[in-house]
Symmetry: C2
Subunit: 373 residues, 2 copies
């Protein structure tokens, strides 16, 4: 599986991934050299030449376009279907507040969603009388919960807790059969699993730049299915929510750009574009396959450790979660860090979570196993 | 007025302000050396050491706190009254969507507001049946428009069109007497005029990091008066909209931090904090006074030019706007740039706009006058 990947060179581009056993892409990924270089270069340009005048505005437009193209590449879609955001959470908020709701409308979600999705849903319930129904993260439980008032099914692609991959195409089919839309929180999917957004069958897919895609913080994207765009408002509009550059009068965009979040730091656009272009040279499929295989290896190693209770979702991903009975997850994480291994805890679920990525090697996995043993 | 400012040294810290006559702080300011250094340093830290583990999380918290302290210094307020945002527009959206509205409620605004304020107000009218009443940007016109249904008065501190300073304390008194709140768009105020938010009498003041404060794009702040915070929802919630670090269970914040925008690029926090700390060493009062005096000088120079029609607001600011009859503003701006002078046009008002800042010198002003002559 690694035949196409020059691991030594790849790890050379990611120095922060080699100072520790870097097993927390689920929070922040390591920044690759081309992204650091691009950000330094943009900074230098802004510092020395400035950000205004024809040169400055051309740089702004160019960076925005490059970031959009790069994010579209991750989702395998045309640029016109991508809105640029600050985060996965921004995409959740954008969709939730872009829809018109009536009191009594229902959203089906799962018990294992991240606050980036649950926080806006809680606010939606509070402010608009929408009923949020939390069910187990399975196709069956979700299908059973969908009813006449269901307007939206809001689920993860990959659960941030135990790493289960949800059957998004099947859940989307169930939702669509009932006339509901499907919002997918792709925080742990985008860059971890290869996907073509259109093939998932959902209506909206939101993902992060700074996690599995190794970009700077404050970057992300929202994919919107073409047939789902028209009914969305622009819920947090700013100067460029309309096209102000094509002519003397502002025009409505008829593309997902209408949902762009305002004021992403331009240096961050430079970084995410370069990070994604670098990732594309490695191969998105190849890097994802390598990570999946390594995650399988880690599961095998942890199964052999008597003191570990491994989570074993039916459809596993690059996230490996486990308990160490008798020890607090926070203590396990701290002890791991003392031994040079970076993982995180999921406090609500009593779990320790390792995010296995394409830059990891077998030695990283062994270090984690040694640390928890 | 410039006795306290070492101009040669100051301009040495702003190379992009010396490659041209830099007269467009109203769009982006020049980035000072300490901000560029701090961003480079943060990048290096993220690239080499990473962004996770105890060291990474401490850096995140530390940068967030430093940015908040720095923005609080600009508004002369405690940190607890500051929410960190991506932009002035973010602050407008935050306030507008944090309030509960009923159809028929009214917002009074002026004819001269920026799309960062008018775009969310238009969306509010569309979605919630709120009536937006646009009146001339004077105390009298606003007072005459305030009625029983007025819930909010939403105005600029300094008009982005002709640079008029609005009498915010008096307008706020009028609004409060009628039970309405006051939102101030400080995009052209924060960093251009010295102010203490509490002394303005308004309820919310939103300002930008990347304009007069010389920070990176994607930074800004929203000041909220303590007595106005309680009634605000958190309209775009994210992971840290609740306090997740003080204890095992998430807690509600009782401070303006509850309104923080999610996922500001951390490198940008490093830059804005350093830019504001640098500005503080120059003196906010002193730098604002220098800019105001230079703007007065420019007005005097332009009054002598027969081909120029100067805008002469009753209370002028650091923005100087004018028409050149017989010439399109866009053409004037282009011709100025060819001659090394950076200004912008306000297409809706047929104006050319020069933003005069503390880094300018008399020669910059003369270059503009020569260019439009």
């Amino acid at each position: 599986m690694t035949a196409m990947i020059d691991l030594a060179r790849l790890r050379g581009d990611l120095p922060s991934a080699t100072t520790h056993a870097y097993l927390n892409a689920g929070t922040f990924g390591p920044v690759p050299k081309p992204a650091a270089d691009a950000m330094r270069e943009h900074l230098e340009e802004a510092y020395i030449w400035g950000r205004i005048g024809a040169r400055g505005y051309a740089a702004w437009d160019g960076l925005t376009a490059r970031a959009r193209t790069a994010f579209a590449g991750v989702a395998g879609c045309p640029e016109d279907e991508i809105a640029l955001t600050h985060s996965t959470t921004d995409g959740c908020n954008t969709v939730i507040w872009a829809l018109d709701w009536s009191p009594g409308d229902e959203v089906i979600t799962t018990t294992d969603e991240h606050p980036g999705l649950t926080a806006p849903l809680d606010e939606l319930a509070l402010r608009q009388g929408v009923v949020i129904r939390e069910v187990a993260p399975t196709r069956e439980a979700i299908a059973a919960a969908i009813g006449e008032r269901t307007r939206l099914v809001a689920i993860s692609h990959v659960l941030w807790t135990d790493g289960a991959v949800l059957p998004v195409p099947e859940i989307s089919a169930d939702a669509h059969a009932a006339g509901a839309r499907v919002l997918v929180d792709g925080a742990q999917g985008g860059g971890a699993l290869p996907f073509r957004a259109a093939d998932l069958g959902c209506d909206y897919y939101t993902y992060s730049g700074q996690k599995w895609l190794c970009g700077p913080s404050g970057t992300g994207a929202l994919w919107v299915a073409p047939d789902a765009l028209g009914e969305l408002h622009t819920p947090w509009p700013w100067y460029l929510s309309r096209d102000r550059r094509s002519g003397p009068e502002p025009q409505e965009w008829t593309i997902a750009r209408r949902l762009d979040a305002g004021a992403v730091t331009l240096t961050a656009f430079a970084g995410i574009a370069a990070a994604l272009e670098w990732r594309a040279t490695l191969g998105v499929e190849e890097t994802c396959a390598r990570a999946a295989a390594l995650a399988g290896t880690l599961r095998g190693l942890l199964e052999e450790v008597d003191s570990v209770e491994l989570e074993t979702p039916a459809a596993p991903s690059t996230i490996v979660a486990f308990r160490v009975p008798g020890r607090e997850p926070a203590d396990v994480v701290t002890r791991c860090e003392e031994l040079g291994v970076l993982v995180r805890q999921i406090p609500t679920h009593g779990l320790v979570r390792a995010s296995v990525a394409f830059w990891n090697d077998e030695r990283d996995l062994e270090r984690l196993v040694d640390a928890v043993r």
